[in-house]
Symmetry: C2
Subunit: 313 residues, 2 copies
């Protein structure tokens, strides 16, 4: 397999991206190659400095970079030779099996929806994250920011998408799927949550266990997969990020607090599209990039895209 | 002034409620009396055990209790001699100046909306909470659960309500009001947030400072008052509660973590109704009850109800 990595993506690119790719070499399978998309001269210079052979990677030279402030859709048109645009072309052509970048989230979304496109039968793709739990494991939260106004049928599909992700990536046999809500009873919640509960209750598509309240976000008392709209999910992950920063700033630590570090999680997959795409955190360190690459490899190996296609046929 | 307290409200009532009221005696003003609503025999027995004089309180005997599992609106009709129903009658009649209970949240809501009623000009009342911040202070978050589907004009009013609350209770002169959102830019968010931003932008009713993201919930970098719908706000406070429990369970502590303890906050005021009503946490300890009573006294002293009436005239 061949994993494409945007060497120009992230606040500390290309340095952090290339260092992360070098780190990843020590972990990926023997039959996995990494293709770096970016400025060949800069990439090879970093590899030289690190004493890493340029032969360890495939390098695709690109002359442009989509900056964080740019309008994503416009940038996609105006910068055809940018690392992200070329990466998506390779992905679509099947020259790479997955693509990961810590660069412009917006551009990664545009590439996912316009170039790779959603799987037939899936109303809207989602992005998910792994939430660390008190037992040292994690649960899956989706959507965390792609669809901020979710209709009930979209939330229902997220239950199935999350279930397949938890089976394939976390190895859970029959994951418990819950709806994020403000009470346990069926009649609780806003209009969307109440209607979503009705569509999920009694489904055979996944193992629905009812509502979960946010004080159970960090334990596994109720659920392995938690479904919510992208507004609520995004607020939740940013609040967790706020806890983590504050605890670090105050010098308070624990294994759980460390697990909240985005570096450990290794990026946010775009689920429900025709290939494997992972979006890294803008502040990605080499370790975060390494984990983003490993996450991409795991998703490709698990054949998660094929599983979605099968489930939504 | 006279503060009414539901002696039968909360998981550990009447014991915890009466003990909390006794504790509060050491903190309230000389001209403040506390009226306890509940079973006179049980109340006086606890006072006797504690060596506290029954003369320290006004006691209104009630023979019924609304339980947590009961349908709030039905219970309000079926249990006319319950501590909550009688408390609201006293409040409406002006025999007490504020009413606080750690009992059935639903029944407290019913009393607030059906007996005390919202102030003319306010579309929907809200409940708010004080969020501890890293500087040892706090910010105000509303709504935290009363209105789960908020129209933009309701969110706008919450900006003004929160601003008046922060001025009156926290003593902030010109509080910064922000909209909880998933990005800083005006065009970010779900439909309600985008429309609310438009109504708030440029307002002279309060000092609107734009969007705030949830990683700033625990600092004061952006705002003193944070406005969101009741679904999002409820999820946020429950997530914070979950984080607090987990830290306690793992033996991790810090002044900030301690400040997340609901006992410190002393209840959630119902804002936008014609009198002062504070709802305590079901698990309230005596300390939490004490702080709930002090919070009620502060709100009455600050004349917050009159300020809302003036602002929405």
């Amino acid at each position: 397999m061949n994993i494409g990595v945007d060497a120009m993506g992230g606040d500390y690119a290309p340095q952090a991206a290339v260092l992360g790719a070098i780190e990843a070499l020590g972990y990926i399978g023997n039959d996995t190659r990494i293709t770096l998309f970016g400025d060949r001269e800069k990439i090879t210079e970093i590899l030289r400095q690190e004493g890493s052979s340029a032969d360890s990677f495939d390098i695709v030279h690109t002359s442009q970079v989509i900056e964080m402030g740019e309008h994503p859709a416009h940038a996609f048109t105006w910068k055809p030779d940018s690392s992200i645009v070329v990466g998506f072309q390779y992905l679509k052509a099947g020259k790479i099996d997955g693509f990961a970048s810590a660069g412009s989230t917006g551009a990664m979304m545009v590439g996912s929806s316009m170039v790779i496109k959603q799987i037939e039968g899936i109303i809207r793709p989602a992005i998910c994250t792994q939430i660390p739990t008190e037992d040292g494991g994690c649960s899956v939260l989706l959507d965390v920011g792609l669809n901020v106004d979710c209709k009930p049928d979209v939330l229902f599909q997220y239950g199935l998408i999350g279930s397949i992700y938890a089976q394939s990536i976390l190895g859970l046999e029959n994951p418990r799927v819950a709806l994020m809500n403000i009470g346990q009873e069926a009649e609780k919640g806003n209009l969307a949550a109440k209607a979503a509960y009705e569509t999920m209750d009694g489904t055979e598509s996944f193992r629905f266990v009812g509502n979960v309240e946010a004080h159970h976000l960090f334990d596994k008392k109720i659920a392995d997969v938690i479904v919510c709209d992208g507004f609520v999910g995004n607020v939740m992950i940013k609040q967790a990020e706020g806890f983590y920063s504050l605890m670090k700033q105050q010098g308070v630590t624990s294994p759980f607090i460390e697990a909240l570090n985005y570096e450990e999680i290794g990026g946010t997959p775009v689920l429900g599209i025709n290939s494997t795409v992972i979006i890294g955190h803008g502040h990605s360190s080499p370790k975060a990039i390494r984990n983003m690459i490993l996450h991409t490899e795991t998703a490709v190996k698990a054949g998660i895209v094929e599983k979605f296609k099968e489930a939504f046929k």
